[in-house]
């Protein structure tokens, strides 16, 4: 285990931001801490880094208790949400800063910085200033800077939060690929469940300072441990008093087995269609259909249909 957190607690004044968190993170894994804003996930990351001091509990990295160790002795790589570039230094100077602190020789620094810029594809921008880079480039520079010191753990705080939608998607797959090549234990914090599902091989879901569930992302999606996790990972609708994923419901003709319902609204999003229904028990629910399914059914408002849970459903409580 690369990182062990034991009963970690942190309060700001009377507010418990991180409440008795105990978990472990596998060596070489890419773990994502997912939670809504204010869930304490960034604070937890900063506690692991040593940027905040914890009130009680212990933090161990690679079997060594680091609870009372200063940030700068922990040898961790930290990428800040807004990248925290050193504005008055060039890209190369930024990346080499940690090595200079470690009193490496000029030649060693230059060589290592060259390698890293190669990896993050910024070799041609070595002498630019952060202000001359795009958001994605700044992000990659921050990553190179954090990696330069060969950290035991790489910590990423909302790494793609400030980027355009398209760049985010690009960087996500780049990060996966990158982690594959350099398998340093990585913890990333995000509030974006799609991002978390795509990137993580371990998922930690947090709310109100406490861990809600940990494990494999697909497993968590399929069997969330509570309603919060279920609702946070994807849309849910209420069918027969039970929360269900709207894509796990099926619409069929009025005579098919299932609950009778009337179509009350149809919204076409292009890649999917949302159909709102009113059931015979006078409850409402909605169903997510693929465009093709919707075309086959050719529904219109007022149609009588039946709705049922798809066979082999991932029904969850």
């Amino acid at each position: 285990m690369a990182i062990l957190l034991n009963r970690v607690t942190k309060s700001y004044g009377s507010r418990r931001v991180v409440d008795d968190v105990t978990t472990s993170i596998d060596d070489g894994s890419l773990t994502v801490i997912l939670g809504p804003s204010g869930s304490g996930k960034s604070t937890l990351l900063r506690l692991i880094a040593g940027l905040e001091t914890l009130d009680s509990g212990t933090v161990a990295i690679d079997g060594q208790d680091v609870t009372f160790q200063d940030v700068r002795d922990r040898n961790i790589g930290f990428c800040f949400q807004h990248y925290a570039p050193f504005r008055h230094m060039t890209v190369a100077k930024n990346v080499g800063f940690g090595l200079k602190v470690r009193k490496q020789s000029r030649a060693d620094i230059d060589r290592r910085v060259g390698e890293l810029l190669e990896i993050v594809r910024l070799s041609d921008k070595a002498n630019r200033y952060p202000s001359q880079l795009s958001g994605g480039e700044r992000q990659r520079m921050a990553l190179a800077r954090a990696l330069a010191i060969e950290p035991r753990v790489l910590l990423l705080d909302e790494p793609f939060g400030a980027l355009d939608a398209q760049v985010r998607v690009e960087l996500r797959s780049w990060l996966r690929d990158f982690h594959h090549r350099i398998p340093v234990t990585t913890i990333m914090v995000t509030h974006d469940q799609q991002e978390a599902m795509e990137v993580a091989d371990q998922l930690i879901i947090m709310a109100e300072g406490a861990i809600q569930q940990t494990g494999d992302p697909r497993h968590i999606y399929a069997s969330p441990s509570n309603e919060f996790v279920q609702g946070f990972l994807g849309p849910i609708t209420n069918f027969g008093g039970v929360p269900v994923r709207p894509h796990d419901l099926e619409i069929r003709g009025a005579n098919a087995p299932g609950e009778h319902a009337v179509v009350t609204a149809i919204q076409n999003f292009g890649f999917e269609v949302r159909v709102d229904l009113r059931t015979e028990h006078d409850t409402s629910c909605w169903v997510q259909l693929s465009t093709r399914e919707a075309e086959t059914l050719s529904l219109s408002v007022g149609d009588a249909v039946t709705v049922s849970v798809r066979h082999e459903p991932a029904l969850m409580i």
Partner: protein, 270 residues
């Protein structure tokens, strides 16, 4: 939208009468008797001595207030501690009240008639009618400028860069020197120029504590005052006033440059 040119005329006229006219008149009068007359007035032994004393006082007050200002800015920006509001407020008192009152306050605290005076006297320190008093008064009235120009820059820049440096293994001194200082340098320099301008020009507080002993405790502003008030030497007043005015104008130009540097620096990642 249509621009009201009438307002422009009113504003320019007001500024012309209130600001431009006096300044123009100063320059005109200083040189009205020719450049050589100007030179002879500003090289009078009394004037030179006063200027040197002013510079000496500034050489003590400016570094002191710079170190304290930067230190206080760092503390106020990075730590919330008990009583920081009170300390913060104390910095503004000297510029919020009359310099004459600051002078009187210093006399009542440190002169022979004041609280500490007798004790200080036994230590061989005399505050009233002395250079020590002038330094004290000048330092007091130029206290907040570095703090006030540095603090907003520190608050705006946030702690991200410093934290990043710490995660990379940088200690407090290195972090301050390589990360924090480059961020705040224009702000600090701005405050230093303001402090310098204020120290060189301070009159009210200094005239109260100095006792105005010519050739000994006369700074340049007091020399200018004295030239007219005691000796009715208008020309000496004007010519030396022009020296101070020139310093002020240079300071203004430097401040303008620093402001635009600061703006560029801030705009970097905006």
């Amino acid at each position: 939208m249509k621009r009201p040119t009438g307002l422009r005329v009113v504003v320019l006229a007001y500024l012309g009468v209130i600001v431009a006219l006096p300044v123009g008149y100063l320059i005109y009068r200083a040189f009205s008797k020719g450049f050589s007359s100007f030179m002879s007035q500003v090289t009078q032994p009394g004037a030179v001595h006063a200027l040197v004393l002013s510079l000496e006082v500034a050489a003590i007050a400016v570094p002191l207030n710079t170190i304290v200002g930067v230190g206080a800015a760092l503390l106020f920006a990075r730590h919330r501690f008990w009583g920081h509001r009170v300390l913060d407020l104390c910095f503004d008192i000297p510029v919020a009240v009359s310099p004459v009152i600051i002078g009187v306050a210093l006399v009542l605290a440190y002169s022979k008639i004041g609280w500490w005076g007798s004790w200080l006297a036994t230590q061989g320190i005399s505050v009233l009618f002395s250079v020590t008093g002038i330094v004290l008064a000048t330092t007091a009235v130029s206290l907040p400028y570095v703090l006030r120009s540095t603090l907003p820059v520190l608050l705006e820049s946030g702690t991200d860069q410093e934290e990043a440096a710490r995660t990379l293994g940088s200690g407090p001194l290195r972090t301050f020197w390589y990360i924090t200082l480059p961020v705040i340098r224009w702000g600090v320099l701005y405050g230093v120029v303001l402090t310098l301008a204020r120290t060189l020009g301070e009159f009210g507080a200094v005239v109260v504590v100095s006792g105005n002993i010519s050739g000994l405790t006369q700074t340049l502003p007091i020399y200018i005052y004295d030239s007219w008030d005691q000796n009715y030497n208008a020309q000496a007043s004007f010519d030396n006033a022009l020296i101070l005015a020139a310093i002020a104008v240079v300071a203004l130009v430097v401040l303008g440059i620093l402001r635009s540097k600061e703006r560029n620096h801030r705009g970097d990642l905006a």
